[in-house]
Structure formats: structure tokens, C-alpha cells
Amino acid sequence: MSFKKDLIKGIFQENPVFRLMLGLCPVLATSTSVQNALGMGSAVIFVLLCSNIIVSLVRNWVPAKIRIPIYISIIATFVTIVDLVMAGYLPDLHKSLGLFIPLIVVNCIILGRAEAFAGKNGVFRSILDALGMGIGFTLALTIIATFREILGNGTWMGVPLFGPSFEPVLLMILSPGAFITIGLLIGLLNWTDHARKIRHS
């Protein structure tokens, strides 16, 4: 039961993007298309998973005072791995994600999970936690990207959805579109939550 909870919570109740408002910069920057979103999502899942495993393994040997620099170094190592691998095998994706691959280092979700979860729990639970959070992150990113890509480009995963007469809402793939989309989505979520609460009571 508790294991299942570890996995599920990151996807729904504690969704890092919609609920905890963590790691917003890459969410907004890389949600211009679903492909980018999935690429970013998998990079984050990989780093999160690896760093959670390592942190959880070494947690008993790390002195409390210098744990943060050590966690950061661990994370930075995996980020560098992702960066190099992606540059080597997926150069296009690497180019379009650009700056935001190295910036995974400072993504608060990863350090946050290392500090709040992996540093206190066993390896198995930390893996579930990482998967849950990572999937939650990717899910949110993909949802936002879906809206932005369909409206802003008329495509989904690069596949055109409308006829040639559709004139895409360019704004959606520009920065204001990102802010407005995420604002509206969180608002919508709050609204449905609120409606559910009223129905329950």
C-alpha cells in the first residue's frame, strides 16, 4: 500500500508542477512541442532516478553538514552524462532543449527529492518516489506541451491535425502563451478540486 502511494503521489496529489510549483523553468521553456516535452521529461526521470538511488545508498555515510554540495555533485554528474549522451545521439533534441539540459542541475525537484525523500528512505522506496515524481513531471509537461503545440503549431508530436486553412495561434509557442497556459491549467485544476470538495461535503 505504502509503496504504491510512493509511486502515485508524485503523479497526482503531489504533482511537482501543478501542485508543488517546482521546476517551472524547464516546464515553460521546453513545452513548445510534445517531443521536446518528452525529451526533457525522460532526461529528468533519468537524473532523478539515478540521483535518488545514489543518494539513498550513500545517505548513511554523508555528513549532514556537507550533504547539499555532495548531492549537487551527484546530480551534476548525471546531468553531464545526459548532456553528453543526448548531444551524441539526439543532436536535434539536444539543440532545441539547449540551455535547459545543464540547468536540470538546479531543478528544485531533483535536489528537493534527494533532500526530502532519498536522503531519508531506502533504495526501493526512493526508486518509486523518483519514478512517481519523474512521471508526474513529464505528464504535466506533456499536457502543457499538448495545448501549446496543437494551438500554436497545429500539430501533435509533429503530426498536422488541421487542414491548411488553420492559422496557428503563434502566441502559444511564445513565452506569454506558456505563462497563460500554465496559469489557466492550474486554475482549472483548482476549480475542479473545489467543485469536488463541495460535492463531497
Binding site: L171, L174, I180
Partner: protein, 333 residues
């Protein structure tokens, strides 16, 4: 016992209310629109009506969804739609004003809580949205003029607004050395012609957005509003004054810059939008000056030929700070 009314003092009130303000502003805007219909043809009317209907419908639906009292009768949504339409080129397809009004009222206003709480001018939010989304529709002025565009030398340029021509010619004149001498001479001639076309600019025999062409009619409307204390002189005067002073300093013709583009529409009708402009004396002057500076910067160095609407939007962002830091000193303090 007789019926007694109880209320806090004061017990008498000025008879001006929000609805009257909105209606007066709308009425003073009608002549400029009528001129545009005369100049560009009947499609202008359909664009304007579409914008208004869409704005009012959006307001109605939003307020129904949010379970708030429906206030479409206060005229603010109509005004938003009208101002949005006035900021569109005269030949846009009708879905442009419809979408623009929807965004203007929904994102620009209702989502912040409706009238009085929107931090930025809704009509301009709508316009900026359209501008970013469909730049081609928003920047190409192909509508033929009734009396044929009187300024020559524009055949080579897409877009027929005087400011677009100005910008293009200025580019040519700046990069003189890279161009043929006859091109330069032609550009100089065009510039001279532009600068001499005061009357045409003033009356409005030029291309441009629906509501902005006739400086004269907008000016008259502004005078009426000033006379009835609906708007105050501070923002328009500071705004237009700053633009004229700055253009003079930059060695251009201040009258041309004052009369062309959306400056009159912006300075009189949109920068003065009460909700989004400062309330203090100094704040309003500084707001106008800020708008003026930004307008000139965008006109001269920016990516767009006209900067009025972006300047106002940008200054809207500064409004709370202006209000906060130009608070009047308490009497005797």
C-alpha cells in the same frame, strides 16, 4: 411607522456613474469610426460589431460561469470591444476581432475579477495577443482608400501606414552608403512628402487602423471628454508632449509624429483608461511621459512601426509602482 432610509454619510452624490462614463466615451468614439467606414468601406462596421458582440458575449459567459452578477450593461465590455476594433487594420477577417475580444475580456479582464481589477488595458491585451499570433493579418494594410492614398512613394513598401513608410525610409537614409543614390533621393522625397502632409494626417486621409486615422475627430472627442471631466488632461498632454519633444530632439518632425499612427487614439482613449493608469497627479504625468518615451523608442528603434499600444501596456505594468511612490503628501504633512 414610516419607512426610514439609513445610510452612511454623505447622503447626496454626484450623478455621474460608471455607466455614464462608459457611454460618454463610447459616443465620443463613434465619429472616428464613422469616418473609417466612409474611408475604408462597410467591412469596418462588421469588424467593429463583431468585436463588440464578442466582447459582450465573453463577459456574459464569464460572469455566468463565475456565478457573479452580470454587468454587461455597464458598457465596459462594449468599450473594450470598440477599442479593440479601432486598433485593427480595416481589412482583417472577422474571426480576428472575435478572437481578440474574447482574449481581451477573458484574459485581460474577467480572470482578474472583472471591471476595476484588471491590471492592464484589456483591449490592448487583445491587440497584443492578435499581433503576436497573427502578425501578417495585423500588419498588412491592403484596404484601398476612398480617395486613394495621397502619399506617393509607397508602392515599393508593403503596408501603407505613414509610420511604416517613415520607418522604411528612415532605414534607407541611415544606411545611405549601402544603397543607390536614386533610392536615397527617392527616400528623401518621400520623407519630405510625409512631413508635409499635415492636413491629410490631421483629417485622416491616410491608411491605418480603423480608429486611429482621423486625429481631428479623436481630438474633438477628447475635448468633449475633457470638458466633462471624464478624462483628465495630464496623461494625454504629457504623452503627446513627450513624443513631440523627443522627436524634435531626434531631429524629426514632431507634428508628423504627433498626428500619425495611433498616438491620439492611444493618448486620449487608452492611456487614460482609468483602471490601469495611476491615480495621483504626479503619477499620471509620469505615466504619460513614460508612454511617450517608449513610443518613440519603439517607433525609432523597435521591431514595429508603431509603439503606442505596447508603450501603454508597458506603462500599465508600472502603474502600481507609480501610485505607490507618488502618493500625495497628506495635507499639512
Amino acid at each position: 411607522m414610516n419607512q426610514r432610509f439609513i445610510s452612511a454619510s454623505p447622503h447626496i452624490h454626484d450623478n455621474l456613474n460608471i455607466q455614464k462614463i462608459m457611454v460618454t466615451v463610447i459616443i465620443t468614439l463613434i465619429p472616428a469610426g464613422a469616418w473609417a467606414i466612409y474611408l475604408f468601406g462597410l467591412q469596418v462596421l462588421w469588424i467593429t460589431l463583431t468585436a463588440i458582440v464578442s466582447a459582450v458575449l465573453t463577459e456574459f459567459v464569464c460572469q455566468k460561469i463565475m456565478k457573479r452578477p452580470v454587468s454587461i450593461l455597464d458598457g465596459s465590455a462594449v468599450l473594450t470591444g470598440l477599442l479593440l476594433a479601432y486598433n485593427l487594420p480595416p481589412d482583417v477577417p472577422l474571426w480576428i476581432p472575435a478572437v481578440g475580444s474574447l482574449v481581451a475580456v477573458f484574459i485581460g479582464k474577467q480572470i482578474f475579477g472583472g471591471l476595476g481589477f484588471n491590471p492592464m488595458n484589456p483591449a490592448l491585451i487583445g491587440r497584443a495577443f492578435l499581433m503576436a499570433s497573427w502578425p501578417v493579418h495585423m500588419t498588412v494594410f491592403d484596404a484601398p482608400l476612398r480617395n486613394n492614398m495621397p502619399v506617393s512613394g509607397i508602392d515599393s513598401v508593403t503596408g501603407a501606414t505613414p509610420l511604416a513608410v517613415f520607418k522604411h525610409m528612415r532605414e534607407i537614409l541611415i544606411h545611405k552608403s549601402d544603397l543607390l543614390p536614386e533610392q536615397v533621393t527617392q527616400a528623401q522625397q518621400t520623407m519630405a512628402e510625409l512631413n508635409g502632409a499635415y492636413m491629410k494626417l490631421f483629417i485622416g486621409q491616410v491608411g491605418g487602423c480603423i480608429g486611429e486615422v482621423s486625429a481631428l475627430l479623436l481630438f474633438l472627442g477628447g475635448c468633449y471628454l475633457l470638458y466633462h471631466h471624464i478624462i483628465s488632461w495630464k496623461i494625454p498632454v504629457a504623452y503627446i508632449g513627450t513624443v513631440m519633444i523627443l522627436t524634435t530632439i531626434l531631429g524629426e518632425n514632431p507634428l508628423f509624429h504627433a498626428l500619425s499612427g495611433g498616438l491620439f487614439l492611444g493618448a486620449i482613449y487608452m492611456a487614460t483608461d482609468m483602471v490601469t493608469s495611476p491615480v495621483t497627479f504626479r503619477g499620471r504625468l509620469l505615466f504619460g511621459v513614460g508612454c511617450g518615451i517608449l513610443t518613440v523608442v519603439i517607433r525609432f528603434w523597435g521591431g514595429y512601426p508603431e509603439g503606442v499600444s505596447y508603450s501603454i501596456l508597458l506603462m500599465n505594468l508600472v502603474t502600481p509602482l507609480l501610485d505607490k511612490y507618488t502618493r500625495p503628501k497628506v495635507f499639512g504633512g
